[in-house]
Symmetry: D2
Subunit: 422 residues, 4 copies
């Protein structure tokens, strides 16, 4: 990843310390509606308990900043280096991921104390450097802040899986107002001429290493829909036998859908003649004009085929999104759910692309343990773009590459259609 002294997307008057403290506080604010029990549960291997997220993001600063830079470093607890290591073989072995929910201890209170102490020690360290942190430390803290934001999104998506699977359908946070049910805007197409384009991050501002190097790509002319697919459109796909027509599906997708008995997006439940869905604001009817969410790549691809269209490549999406305002329905709206479909390219849902998650030409992992951050996951995953209603505002950007396996559904993931321009 790259870091420059002037951070353009955030108020430049804010120092690194302020942004660090704000990110730490933001994680903690997300768990306010949750009980200790809520924060302990793991409902599948992909989901981590909330308190694990709180501990692991702390571990990141503990191991990569304090252990490396703090004079006379002593750990908060010697076992945490192992317990809260997610996947960094360079740091050492890791507690077995599918059993994170087996650990009742350390409890929520102890993890809160761990957080407080590490936050304070990192803040003190930053103060001790007065004017400027050592470049490597500053770069790692910047990475740690972005890492913390990624886990803020996972806190939301993971607790949704915990609460959404509970027959009581508990509410995380009641929505503040009534939801508009006006129609979605008509689907229109923007045309792009393609040709030689530059893809990926370059220049000032933080970006993850997987967003670069900036490189040249040739694109054929294409069109991109002006808004994402809505629940209403997906209901048409379902009504037209979408889940029962193998010819619409990738082979692996069809096999997955049969095995797991998929008949609708995740969190949808048949409610008499119609469909309802679980949201973090409660269980309620599906709204046709809302942006579709919680579909896998396989479902997105089947829908696109049914519609006679296709998914855009990540390059097409990036070209279309360049220069567009990066605002939208992010976590700061506190909806934690996609809104009525709009022509904004960012927010609401991550958009599945037709691109496999692979290194850009010339990509090199950074040296050291943080080199494991992104590169080692470049197999068998697909790229998603644009950020979701669970993404912290300001976290994503036009070159940002999110990635999940093609069968993943517990993220806020939907799609926008593309087509060739004859």
């Amino acid at each position: 990843m790259t870091l420059s002294p002037s951070e353009p997307r955030l108020d430049s008057a804010l120092g690194l310390r302020e942004r660090f403290l704000r990110a730490r506080a933001e994680s903690e604010s997300l768990v306010l509606p949750l009980s200790s029990e809520d924060q302990t549960v793991q409902t599948m291997a992909d989901v981590s308990p909330t308190k694990w997220h709180l501990a692991h993001t702390t571990w990141f600063f503990d191991v990569f900043i304090l252990e490396a830079f703090e004079p006379g470093y002593k750990p908060f607890h010697p076992a945490y280096r192992y317990l809260f290591n997610s996947y960094y073989n360079g740091v050492g072995p890791q507690y077995f991921r599918p059993q994170r929910g087996h650990l009742s201890r350390p409890g929520v209170a102890e993890i809160r104390a761990y957080r407080s102490q590490v936050t304070e020690r990192v803040a003190s360290l930053l103060e001790s450097w007065s004017e400027a942190a050592p470049a490597e430390a500053a770069s790692l803290i910047e990475l740690g802040i972005n890492h913390e934001q990624q886990h803020q999104e996972l806190i939301v998506t993971d607790i949704k899986h915990v609460l959404g699977g509970n027959p009581l359908h508990p509410v995380y946070e009641a929505p503040s107002g009534l939801r508009a049910v006006e129609e979605a805007p008509a689907l229109r197409w923007r045309a792009f001429k393609g040709g030689l384009v530059a893809i990926g991050h370059d220049g000032p501002g933080f970006a993850f290493d997987n967003e670069g190097p900036r490189h040249t790509v040739w694109l054929e002319p294409f069109r991109l829909a002006t808004r994402p697919v809505t629940c209403g459109e997906y209901l048409e796909f379902m009504a037209d036998g979408g889940y029962h027509r193998p010819e619409l599906w990738l082979s692996a997708g069809w096999a997955t859908a049969q095995e797991r008995h998929w008949q609708a997006p995740l969190y949808w439940e048949r409610d008499g003649e119609s469909w309802s869905l679980y949201t973090l604001g409660g269980f309620r009817p599906v709204i046709a004009s809302e942006v579709l969410s919680h579909v896998s790549f396989f479902e997105a691809a089947a829908f696109a085929k049914w519609a006679g269209k296709r998914l855009p490549t990540e390059f097409e999406w990036e070209i279309a999104a360049r220069g567009v305002a990066e605002d939208g329905n992010f976590a700061d709206s506190r909806l934690f759910h996609p809104a009525r479909a709009s022509e904004r390219m960012f927010g609401d849902v991550w958009k599945w692309t037709a691109s496999a998650y692979l290194p850009y030409p010339g990509y090199r992992e950074v040296d050291g343990p943080v080199g494991e951050y992104n590169g080692k996951f470049m197999a068998s995953q697909m790229v998603l773009r644009g950020g979701s209603a669970a993404t912290p505002a300001g976290h994503t950007r036009v070159t940002y590459r999110n990635f999940f396996p093609p069968d993943a559904r517990w993220q806020f993931s939907g799609l926008v259609l593309a087509e060739d321009r004859a």
Copy 2:
């Protein structure tokens, strides 16, 4: 199950209401050392979260007493009838057992409120009956008390699995004093002449339906060891290649031991040259004179074969235990761990027997949903006798039949040797 007005094992001055309240309070006292997080976790399908035990024992009274006998019954929460049903098909469908640990809600506080309300309502009902409860209700409350006691034992064994699997080895309750490490008494043999004997419960006092009917069994002359197998004896078995000699094992036992990489009893960990073990009082060295625990039937049978002996049948054990004082190291010692081996037949550990868990001649399940209590489990399990350090004092008796599959190790289970009398 049977119930008579005079309950011999408990102070007969205590009315049903007092015993009911005492049992309810005892469950609650067991969870005092536990955090909300501890009470939420499920570490394998056999283990239930503590708060599930607290709720399910309440459900038992809610559904079988209040719903049936309380005028104008209204449930505390309509979903609990489903959520906390363990296995009673006669009541209705059940929430999927291996995912009890997925339910963060209802939380510990809400379950405490559920308990309080149901306890109070049952107590009021009992008061309303003034002198005597209807026979069926009294019988069901008696069953409910015994059911609650069984779950008290499971609260202890299940939380041991939760805490014992945690790399931090958290202490449930520190033992109050130093543990004596004197030698175990020498192993001696008591001889029994066999012949026609009467087996099973009969007469006054509560017993589970599976303890009867009392019936005749023919026994050959046999001898029973005067004390259970100790950790020291089991260490000899291990040192003699016990876990590496298939000729000592039942075929299914050997396959299980290989698959699960068994090298010692559950909770034992190699500690340099010697062995330590996790107890609810903490992690500490194995003590040779202590009663062996946490072995499966398969390990118990392999040990017995190695020793040139055998396990007793449940009938042999019952004959040997008849007339013996039913005291020993039960849960009221608050050791929650077997003590130095003694000649007491009760307490410390459940003793695996050579008997499959099958119905006694003439056995009939009682009518109605509580008929599912015992009978439907009479397949592929082995009988254990004698109660353990986690069993509530006064709960077990000479005819009491506990049962677990032959691969189960998370109970306090050990063995006492037997041999034929030539």
Copy 3:
């Protein structure tokens, strides 16, 4: 196992050598209708390929007779000692059972050569002993003959699983005549007074070690149905919701039936409004008067509960069968399927009993590798009695104990009802 010089059930004029050769030839005659491909396939872990059975029965004589007694022994092939060892840890490691169907080599022809050579060498050895074989060798050959007969039954049941699962429903051997469809005899009850009885094998003649020692058992008075349950009766159970009423089932049985989607006995297929079934003679309608087969212990127990009766214990069955003619529909009928129900106690189907497969009092495994023959399987299995249409005539007897896990259905297994005599 025991062996006496005078073998009562077989023509005593036949020497050991003649009986040996006859048993070897009988195995080979069973595979005449089978192609090389048929003999190679394994359709589940419990099933072994035909050619494996042919090789393993040969291995038994190769390892236990030739290797031990033949001067200057040289193996037919050095790898076979490993490849065709079933489960004898005393002989050495074993090829992985669930992958026996992965071995295309040695092929059918090579195994035939192996058989021929070993048969001839054992016969020569027997001749070389002229008058009398050494007692241990004679005993092992006798065991090997009985072992071969057991595998003859498995050849039939295993090839039925191979052919029966094939959508083409291939015929093993077409039945020679029309099947009578007259009604089954009415179900009557024979009463037994119980009391102290002697159970198990004693005296002259071969028996497996698990049939002894003869010992005393106390039985309550009981009644046994005069004929086994028929397909017609089982159809009534099915029509009455037998597969949809959990209250009729053991808990483990219900779970198994749900998981495996059991709706009828194995090999039954719905055929419009009625049911057909696969037999080794082809696919054809279920005949109501025929003896029910291919049910698990779980289904047998559910049926008995539905009928308001129970399964007999193995002791009850043995008492009832004592003195009864040991004839019936065995493999020599070449029906390879149960016939119309009759009052014969032997043949047609193995009868599930209510008894777990456990050692008799005083049971000791024999020394050496053949000690692994029976004893190590005495866990988690149920006893079946009486022999089936796939059992070689003369192989079974009144004390014979067959055993399978409670979920096994691919054997010819049915039931006969019992009840208490008030």
Copy 4:
């Protein structure tokens, strides 16, 4: 796929009928060394029995040619349409793939008869069209020939899995001469300048639909090694801890390697201090100068990282291979194993590329059932290029895209290194 009347890679004097008959005969010649048993076995879900391949390639002509074009079509056997359908939902349901090895019937002889009849009927049909086949039929027959050739390769790789997993290590065909063990040529690098290039098939000659449309790609300058990685180089990787250093591996690759206990390529076995490997010519020592084979994408990527290089993209490989002679060690050498490494780009082993198997811009599946041929597999697989020692000569070409999941090892798969050109 596309088809033109003049087929450039094959002798143009050969008509479609001759090429059809030659392809059919070639399949049959491959099975000559195999017994009926060999042809029946399936050792994992990915492997199909030889006789299934013989039947399925026949099914292709039966269903897509005879059923569609033959007047008065009658099937050889009505069940085969289902039994030998691989994955064409457009044709109908399919027999469960992982159980192809459960089908002993139809046997080898019956499938041979099926082949003969269908071959003859297709040949007659072609004759009946005298001068020219209808364009659609000709195109489908051309596809069927190429399909048959693909299965010829699978016959070889699948039977290698069957024989190679057998402890007897049976030889498929003994190599005709001694293997040279001279050193491999030194590794050199060819430089390419990149820029805008045209990728994919265009123009006359058969190609699969996934090889087009021809389209523009931008490439950065790169270098490609002049020969593939050898066994000797891979032994260095292994000696340097290649299988024990997670930092060299993709995360999913490391997890796979741990789970499956990978310590070397498939078919390699430790033989004292050195390594031997199973080849279709027998079990013998690894030869350092030979081309490495039977590694997964995960191992190829780990090796490349260890070597400080990377895998080429499929586009880089195609540019490098353009204009190069398409000869090499193909199946017509009857080595069925890679030879000493050479600078030929084709043959020996399929080369894993860094490219995910995705549709080219503008790709559309053809209409009808054969549209399922390639497109529906475009998820979670990686592209391999260049053909192997098991590929029929003339089958592959510079634009040919093979594809397998990243954990597949049973194909003849290796790698050639690439690097950026600074």
